[in-house]
């Protein structure tokens, strides 16, 4: 029991310390928060698209559900605090409750969406998840409580790097443990050959739905976090394009590799900012830098095609970085080998 919980207990003070260290650098804090959210999205999508070999392209829909549910709750409880705790801690507690609610509702949506589509062949899941994202968008746009098209603003901005970092850690932990467990082995089996897995007694639908629900939960958490450090959320942040960005991260990192997803998410979050800095240094800011933002999307598309044609396993394939790195480093001959 302790071995299971120990990493979490260790991570907690580490992330809190991290947050304090960066308190004086608001831009770094913001950027790292966005990166953290992307990492959670990528790692959670990797569970479905990578480990289980399904094709879900509506991850932004679950993110939206988590964001709006958590946001509405936080907005309602804005004035409330726990009397026996200092305000800062009380805020985090309420944030945690809001996040969990968002995650749970998102997971329920994942179940509702996943069950009918995962019974069938995988291609249908893609369209259904896409449609789900659209349904969420329409629901939000028509509901005053969600701010309709203007968006929901005024959500207490209580998600600091500590909370974000904690959930990044948690999702990576869950993903890694899942991958290494017997439960995970069933998922890999489904990915490799669903018919064979079914023949071997694996309840493929059950495992697929479970993976989908876990993935939706974390996407909801990511959305909830997002809502608590971005000043306003509106449907424009949760479009099909966002879903595709996450798919690109997962594919680039390697379908099935958790560390691959993390690295790809970090890379794709930092790339636009790095380009902005590069252009400023070169003095070529202005229209050239702006053109780069425009070109980003078609380049992502081309990148997907090129990856599939030339290196479909992405960066790491199904392996993790510590399995791949030794092979890339120059080897030292030991003894007679």
């Amino acid at each position: 029991m302790l071995r299971g919980v120990l990493p979490v207990l260790v991570a907690l003070p580490v992330v809190i310390l991290f947050e304090q260290l960066l308190a004086a650098a608001p831009f770094a804090t913001y950027l790292l928060s966005i990166m953290g959210v992307n990492i959670i999205l990528a790692v959670s999508l990797n569970i479905v698209n990578g480990m289980t070999g399904q094709f879900s392209i509506g991850h932004a829909g679950f993110m939206a559900v988590g964001a709006y549910v958590a946001g509405v709750l936080s907005l309602a409880l804005k004035e409330v605090a726990l009397s026996f705790l200092p305000v800062a801690v009380s805020d985090q507690v309420f944030l945690l409750v809001a996040l969990l609610l968002g995650g749970v509702v998102s997971a329920v949506c994942g179940f509702v969406v996943g069950l009918p589509s995962l019974r069938l062949r995988g291609d249908y899941l893609a369209i259904v998840t896409l449609g789900f994202g659209e349904i969420i968008r329409v629901v939000v746009q028509n509901t005053d409580a969600f701010g309709r098209a203007l968006g929901l603003s005024g959500i207490p901005q209580t998600a600091g790097l500590g909370m974000v970092g904690f959930w990044v850690f948690l999702v990576v932990l869950v993903a890694r443990r899942l991958a290494g467990s017997s439960h995970g082995r069933s998922l890999w089996a489904i990915r490799e050959d669903e018919v064979a897995a079914e023949a071997m007694g694996v309840d493929t639908t059950g495992y697929k739905v479970r993976a989908f629900v876990i993935s939706a939960f974390f996407a909801g958490i990511a959305g909830g976090l997002f809502a608590h450090f971005v000043p306003i959320i509106n449907p424009g942040s949760f479009t099909f394009v966002k879903s595709m960005e996450v798919v690109v991260m997962v594919v680039l990192g390697g379908l099935g590799s958790t560390t691959g997803a993390i690295i790809a998410a970090m890379f794709l979050t930092l790339l636009p900012e790095a380009l902005r800095s590069a252009f400023t240094v070169m003095g070529a800011e202005g229209s050239l830098a702006q053109k780069v933002d425009q070109i980003r999307m078609p380049v992502y598309g081309l990148m997907l095609v090129a990856l599939m044609l030339l290196r479909p396993q992405g960066l790491f394939g199904t392996r993790e970085i510590w399995e791949v790195l030794p092979r890339w480093l120059p080897r030292r001959r030991k003894g007679l080998a």
Binding site: V113, P116, M308
Partner: protein, 306 residues
């Protein structure tokens, strides 16, 4: 009553266009078991090709019968070529690989096309919507009451063209040797190859026909709604795919029925109920159909043999 009739006409008009696009989806899925996400965007490219042709012809020429025929031919031919290139260089190398790989590639191409065309560099048109030139001079052919219901010439022409293309396709698939080859490849492409069917060529031609149909649909769409933009492919493609699934993917007449149904439902939802829920209703129907009848209205869920 008049309102109902008008809604009916509107719904059928958009339904037939969905049908043309859905046919392309269903055909490609039939032979390759691949959802060609890029299909809608190929349609978009066809529309812009038509736009460019109409522009080159000039205001007078584009309205003549020959001009219109030329525009259609250029767009459909251009899309056929585009479809061929996509299949040859992006899908064929991945045919033996897991299906997920092809799906990702399809999405990649869809993205490249729809976002690429939003750039305004070189020949790329840019994101802002444009007005498709009026290539069919609109004249009212039927008026009921005091303009209670109006039917226009281009609506009728559009319907005839769509039906004509569909009938042609039906003939092709069921009455010609090539059609038989297509159906054989759709059952099992390895066995078809063993039987001496040039599968590569059949698949390539299927793609080309599907793309050409999409281009035709796109032009009819542009004539109907005037506004063209690089993003038009994504939504039409999605709706058409929903239509194909509703009808039973892989089933040609089913795609048509599904599309007409979708067009009518959308129209009536917007006209009589809440107009803002249209997209949600469309996808809601999809999920409902998948829940109740997973093979679609006409399709059968084929057991996968290993």
């Amino acid at each position: 009553m008049a309102q109902l009739l008008q809604h009916l006409i509107n719904g059928l008009a958009s339904g037939t266009i969905y049908a043309l696009v859905a046919l392309g989806y269903t055909m490609v899925y039939g032979v390759l078991k691949l959802i060609n996400f890029a299909h809608g965007d190929v349609m978009m490219v066809g529309v812009y090709m038509g736009y460019a042709t109409a522009f080159t012809l000039g205001r007078q020429e584009q309205k003549t019968f020959l001009g219109v025929v030329l525009i259609f031919l250029v767009a459909m031919g251009g899309c056929a070529l585009l479809g061929f290139l996509i299949e040859r260089f992006a899908y064929r190398p991945l045919r033996e690989k897991p299906r997920l790989t092809s799906l990702i590639t399809a999405i990649g191409i869809s993205f490249t096309l729809s976002y690429g065309f939003q750039l305004d560099i070189g020949f790329l048109p840019g994101a802002a919507p444009r007005a498709f030139p009026e290539i069919i001079v609109p004249t009212e052919w039927l008026i009921i009451g005091d303009r209670d219901v109006v039917v226009w010439n281009w609506q009728v022409m559009s319907l005839l063209i769509a039906v004509g293309l569909m009938v042609g396709l039906q003939y092709l698939v069921f009455k010609t040797r090539f059609g038989r080859a297509m159906r054989a490849v759709s059952y099992d492409h390895r066995v078809a190859a063993l039987m001496g069917i040039p599968t590569d060529r059949v698949i390539a031609l299927t793609f080309m026909i599907g793309s050409a149909l999409a281009a035709g649909a796109g032009l009819l769409y542009a004539i109907k709604d005037t506004s063209v933009s690089p993003l038009m492919g994504l939504y039409v493609g999605l709706k058409a795919f929903v239509a194909a699934v509703i009808g039973g993917i892989g089933h040609v007449p089913g795609a048509v029925v599904g599309a007409l149904l979708l067009g009518l439902v959308e129209e009536f939802v917007v006209g009589y109920a809440a107009s803002t829920w249209r997209d949600a209703v469309a996808f809601g129907i999809l999920i409902l159909v998948l829940l109740v009848k997973p093979g679609g209205l006409f399709g059968r869920v084929a057991a996968e043999k290993v």
